[in-house]
């Protein structure tokens, strides 16, 4: 049975595309058949995060308009043969696709994939409506900041109004050193405010920048963020995995590092 998940946030720049790339790649690592759809028409980015920007021939708008068959537009991942990307169009805008067309496309894809993951654009306009139209469940990405959480709350309200069956939360870019000082809201604070199920927390990790530079999602590697994303994938498939300890290791290393800096 296939599941359609939209990754959304309201606010831009909180890590939707990074999350989509890592969750998609992680699920493929767990031997699921996965397709990632970039619904951010006009501001295409998932292809570069996945490192597949040079392989694009057709895109989402071509498929929807019937200029090509679905299979022609799908790009196979570099590393995982069971992972595909349907890129967005760069030279068009959000009105090129309608929610009905998205629903139809997703219904066709359901037959071939275990997971269909939609990377939603920022905002609550047409692009958002297109992205959520065919989704079974949503993953809301936020950071522990007032503006991002406010937007996430608005998105949760809109998703509830659209009767999505399930909503889960990822708290991204946590800095445990700041949380310990009391200068950043904790995971519990964010969950308390938004009152939806937490599916994972991802630390602010410089390895994310490095992996994006290289166009290879870091899910599953030894970095804290890599482990956090893989845990999220397990939880998506229904496995129960305890929350990763983001604090302790990090803190010892920080303390050591600061000791050396002083000398």
């Amino acid at each position: 049975m296939s599941e359609v998940i939209v990754i959304t946030s309201g606010k831009g720049g909180v890590g939707k595309t990074t999350t989509t790339a890592n969750v998609g790649t992680g699920l493929a690592m767990l031997n699921k058949k996965v397709i990632l759809i970039d619904t951010d028409i006009g501001l295409r980015n998932l292809d570069v995060v996945m490192g597949l920007e040079n392989r694009i021939v057709y895109n989402l708008v071509d498929v929807v308009e019937g200029s090509c068959r679905i299979k022609q537009a799908l790009i196979k991942d570099k590393r995982y043969p069971n992972l595909y990307l349907l890129p967005s169009a760069q030279t068009r805008d959000k009105t090129s696709v309608s929610p009905e067309q998205m629903k139809k496309l997703i219904e066709e894809l359901r037959e071939d994939f275990d997971y269909i993951i939609l990377d939603c654009p920022a905002g609550i306009e047409q692009g958002f409506k297109n992205a959520i139209a065919g989704a079974d469940r949503a993953i809301i990405v936020t950071t522990p900041e007032v503006s991002a959480i406010r937007d996430a709350d608005r998105i949760i309200g809109l998703l509830e109004a659209n009767e999505l069956k399930r909503m889960d939360l990822i708290v991204n870019r946590l800095r445990m050193d700041m949380v310990k000082r009391g200068d950043m809201m904790s995971i519990d604070d964010v969950v308390d405010i938004l009152a939806i199920n937490l599916i994972g927390a991802v630390p602010d990790d410089e390895n994310i920048v490095i992996s994006t530079n290289q166009g290879e999602p870091l899910v599953g590697n030894d970095s804290l963020a890599g482990k956090a994303f893989l845990n999220i994938c397990y939880r998506i498939t229904g496995e129960e995995v305890p929350l990763l300890n983001l604090g302790e290791n990090n803190n010892i290393w920080n303390k050591l590092a600061s000791l050396f800096k002083k000398n």
Partner: protein
């Protein structure tokens, strides 16, 4: 800044949380502080017809309350109105 100020100072994380809680209440209720002020003034006018109340001490806010509605929780308008004196109702 005195030492006491230092200990009393709220961490910025707590400030953020408190600000957000207030912000989301008005976002969710689609209710601006201006509208809340108008509601407050109207309540004072209406209640004052029947009893003497402490307008300064009056506090209204929108909070969450348990209900059988969606997700078991709905917004509620909560008003705390201190009564100074119960006027005797006039017999006409």
């Amino acid at each position: 800044m005195s030492i006491m100020d230092f200990f009393k100072r709220k961490s910025s994380g707590d400030v953020a949380k408190d600000r957000l809680k207030l912000l989301l209440i008005s976002d969710r209720a689609n209710c601006t502080p201006q509208i809340m002020e108008l509601i407050k003034n109207d309540i004072i006018q209406v209640i004052s017809k029947y009893m003497e109340i402490d307008a300064e001490g009056l506090d209204i806010q929108i909070t969450q309350t348990e209900s059988e509605g969606r997700n078991g929780s709905v917004p509620a308008l909560y008003a705390n109105i201190p009564i100074k004196d119960l006027k005797h109702s006039k017999v006409n």
